[in-house]
């Protein structure tokens, strides 16, 4: 068991010159569930895109003990399930089945196992029976669940989610929080939803202007009004 | 509703199977080249990017503005796509748009789709691209050149698509060229104004808010080959203008073949029951004529492309 994320001194500048990460350090232990918070533009999404090699900045990113390079890229992408903020970006296939089958198909699995993985992962998110539907016809909450299923189908060791509860109504949000709690994977969740942070994550990382500015037990950070204030956050 | 803005989507039945087949062969050739060129241009991003941008053109056609008496102006989009992404990428984008409009919404026929792709995709893309770059090279790099270039390119691209459609209708005996040509060209000279204004306004928005987005077209493949494709198009139109097609007779390609004396045998053939109708079996002299026309067209196109490639190579090695 070494389902870890280990980031050391990560820097990233976008091609248009905008500096997004200025030396990020973080370590996530196997089985840990961690919240990543910070104001808009803090670099959260940029950081997440480094965790499976979509972006490659300067510094060291190790996932499951392996550094990310051209050789390990395929394995890393299978090990880290990245769920994007907008499910309309994540669900790019013309049907739900095609979308959930996409990852397993590119992992080179045979048809029987692909079928099985699709069923299992839709089951895990409580969405059995929508295989033939067009993603566009799903509701917001259903889309989020199917988006999570698309990465679960790859049986990742680590789940990375960007804003999973954004734009959901209270009941759908509650369902999703319960789902996240049930999933066994190591988890890093970027969010503005401080209620979600308070009730689901023991540890929280605060990031601002491309740097980690706080990292510790959620309860302690949420009690630190000066810290929250200075980084545009608010206790629930 | 999301309906076709410009009545250029030819339905099935308006072109003869023969004319349709020629369209498919030309269109497939262009699509095959476009697939290779955009793969080089965009790599792994090719498929998602072309697909999403095709959806953009489709959606952009839903943005309209009222003209008068309940009619409204919209975008066709071929020139805009070509100016931003290059002519080959635009060819693919418009192919996807036209295919979906036909398959999903029956906007444009299946058998005639080859010509629809050429008229609204290939011809508009290449005309738009070449005219835009020419105007810009005349006026230099400034906002006026961008707006003027975009306007003229988009207007002309719609004109060329409409003129080509008129020729195809004439070749099929659906409308005499003497009527179809001025009618199509005249109506689309007006429709093209909307296309021109929308295109240049879209370009100037990009220039202001994201100038990098306009650099793709500057470096896209086909920027030298495009001029040869456009020359071939212009030559074909001129040749067609002086052909017997341009007579007032509405019988199209078959009539032309007949006039040239090729169809006399066909008229006596047992399978030709109605006087001006034959099934194109192999060995039929009519088919030979058509094949000759086809091969000729392909040769012109091939030569143009070859020339384009040769000069490109010479220029790159000369750099």
């Amino acid at each position: 068991m070494h389902h870890t994320i280990d980031v050391k001194n990560l820097h990233y500048t976008y091609p248009d010159g905008q500096v997004a990460l200025r030396g990020v350090d973080l370590y996530i232990a196997p089985g840990e569930k961690v919240a990543l918070v910070g104001p808009n533009g803090a670099g959260k999404s940029t950081l997440l895109l480094h965790l499976n090699g979509i972006l490659r900045g300067d510094g060291e990113v190790q996932v499951c003990g392996r550094p990310i390079n051209d050789k390990t890229l395929g394995a890393v992408r299978a090990a880290v399930g990245l769920v994007f903020q907008d499910p309309d970006d994540q669900l790019f296939s013309p049907s739900v089945f095609d979308d959930v089958a996409f990852g397993p198909l590119y992992m080179g699995l045979d048809e029987g196992s692909i079928q099985q993985r699709v069923e299992q992962s839709l089951d895990a998110v409580g969405m059995r029976g929508v295989e033939r539907r067009v993603p566009h016809h799903l509701s917001g909450g259903e889309k989020k669940r199917v988006a999570i299923a698309t990465v679960l189908a790859m049986e990742p060791e680590i789940l990375v989610l960007d804003e999973p509860t954004a734009g959901l109504d209270p009941r759908t949000r509650r369902g999703l929080i319960n789902l996240l709690r049930e999933l066994p994977q190591t988890m890093l969740v970027s969010t503005h939803d401080m209620g979600l942070v308070a009730e689901s994550f023991l540890r929280t990382i605060v990031i601002n202007e491309g740097r980690v500015v706080a990292d510790g037990p959620t309860q302690k950070l949420l009690a630190d009004d000066a810290l929250l204030e200075s980084h545009g956050l608010e206790a629930p | 509703m999301l309906q076709s803005p410009v009545p250029l989507h030819i339905p099935d039945g308006f072109l003869t199977p023969l004319v349709s087949a020629i369209g498919w062969i030309l269109a497939l050739t262009m699509i095959a080249i476009a697939l290779r060129q955009t793969r080089n241009q965009l790599g792994e991003r090719q498929i998602p990017m072309m697909g999403v941008l095709a959806a953009f053109i489709f959606a952009a056609q839903a943005i309209n503005f009222p003209i008068a008496a309940g009619t409204s102006g919209h975008l066709l989009g071929g020139a805009l796509a070509a100016i931003i992404m290059g002519p080959w990428a635009a060819t693919l984008i418009m192919t996807a748009v036209i295919a979906i409009q036909s398959l999903l919404f029956q906007d444009g026929g299946l058998l005639v789709m080859g010509w629809n792709i050429l008229n609204m995709g290939v011809f508009t893309a290449f005309t738009g691209y070449v005219v835009y770059r020419f105007t810009k090279s005349l006026l230099g790099r400034n906002p006026v050149a961008l707006i003027a270039g975009g306007f003229v390119a988009a207007w002309l691209s719609v004109e060329v698509g409409a003129i080509a459609t008129a020729f195809e209708l004439a070749a099929s005996g659906t409308s005499p060229l003497s009527l179809a040509l001025p009618a199509m060209a005249g109506v689309h000279a007006l429709i093209g104004l909307g296309e021109g204004v929308i295109t240049s306004a879209a370009l100037s928005l990009l220039q202001v808010s994201r100038p990098q987005a306009l650099e793709m077209g500057e470096t896209a493949p086909g920027r030298r080959g495009a001029i040869f494709v456009v020359t071939a198009m212009a030559l074909s139109i001129i040749v067609a203008l002086f052909s017997p097609l341009a007579s007032a007779h509405p019988d199209g390609l078959e009539f032309v073949a007949e006039q040239q004396g090729f169809l006399t045998i066909a008229a006596d053939a047992p399978y030709s029951i109605l006087p001006d109708y034959t099934i194109p079996f192999i060995g039929n002299p009519a088919v030979t004529t058509i094949l000759a026309v086809l091969v000729g067209t392909l040769v012109v196109f091939g030569l143009a492309l070859l020339l384009g490639r040769l000069t490109t190579r010479r220029q790159t090695t000369g750099d």
């Binding site: - | 805009l80 058998l111 100037s204 808010s209």
Partner: protein, 261 residues
């Protein structure tokens, strides 16, 4: 408001819905070809083709008039053939009052034939999309040797068509919400309105471009390597072969009979 109502697929449980999508695609194309090859004025043949398409609509449990009611989309293009009755040489059967233009008999026959061909072909295409989910149609295109990359692009376009069209409609509504019409006040000039539409098109393009980048990232996250891959979906069953042969033979039979008699 979503534009998903534009999806023409009609979910039913019928023989036609269960057919292999390749069979339906090929038969539709053959039907359009047969209709286009049918000689001018062969009314009996056109009647037989109409009967065929109505039967198919009935067998698909769409109601026999389903395709009929939706088939008028090609009508505006009729204008393009409007000159034919007047310019085709032949005995005059009608003279337009005042103008003195004459409709010739062969011209009239040719005109009606063109409209019939278009009308029947559209009905076949309507039935195809009403009985075949678009993903199945895409799969059959890929299987029928259309280039994989092109089919994959069509898949992406289909997926994002609705998303981007929603965005476009929201922009249209936002514009309408700020476009009050005050009685007596002059309306903004057309050129200005077209420029507004152009700016909307420009910003929609930027959104689409950004989205395509995010979509590519989502694909790469799940292992996409530039190759198109797809699963086998359908196997041709006995019934598929029977329908394929049966319908294509009847198309050939109608055509042959028309040409021989």
């Amino acid at each position: 408001m979503h534009i998903s109502f534009l999806d023409p697929f009609q979910a039913r449980d019928s023989l036609v819905h269960r057919l292999d999508p390749r069979v339906k695609a090929v038969l539709t194309l053959l039907y359009v070809l047969a209709v286009s090859l049918t000689p001018q004025g062969a009314w009996a043949a056109f009647a037989a083709f109409l009967a065929l398409v109505l039967t198919a609509a009935w067998a698909a449990k769409l109601g026999w008039s389903y395709s009929l009611r939706r088939s008028f989309i090609a009508l505006p293009f009729m204008l393009a053939a409007l000159a034919v009755p007047f310019v085709t040489p032949g005995p005059a059967i009608y003279e337009v009052p005042v103008l003195g233009w004459t409709v010739s008999e062969p011209g009239f026959v040719r005109f009606v034939t063109i409209l019939l061909r278009a009308w029947l072909a559209v009905q076949a295409a309507i039935l195809l999309t009403a009985t075949t989910p678009f993903t199945d149609l895409l799969w059959s295109l890929r299987n029928l040797r259309i280039p994989q990359a092109l089919v994959a692009m069509l898949g992406f376009m289909y997926r994002y068509l609705f998303v981007l069209a929603d965005e476009a409609l929201r922009m249209n509504r936002a514009r309408a919400a700020r476009s009050p019409r005050i009685v007596g006040a002059p309306r903004p000039p057309i050129g200005w309105q077209a420029r507004v539409a152009g700016s909307m098109v420009g910003s929609l393009f930027l959104r689409a471009l950004e989205r395509s980048e995010r979509v590519y990232a989502a694909m790469a996250s799940r292992g996409y390597d530039g190759e198109v891959r797809a699963l086998v979906r359908f196997q041709m069953l006995g019934l598929d072969w029977i329908v394929l042969l049966g319908v294509s033979l009847s198309l050939v039979a109608i055509l042959t009979l028309t040409l021989v008699i």
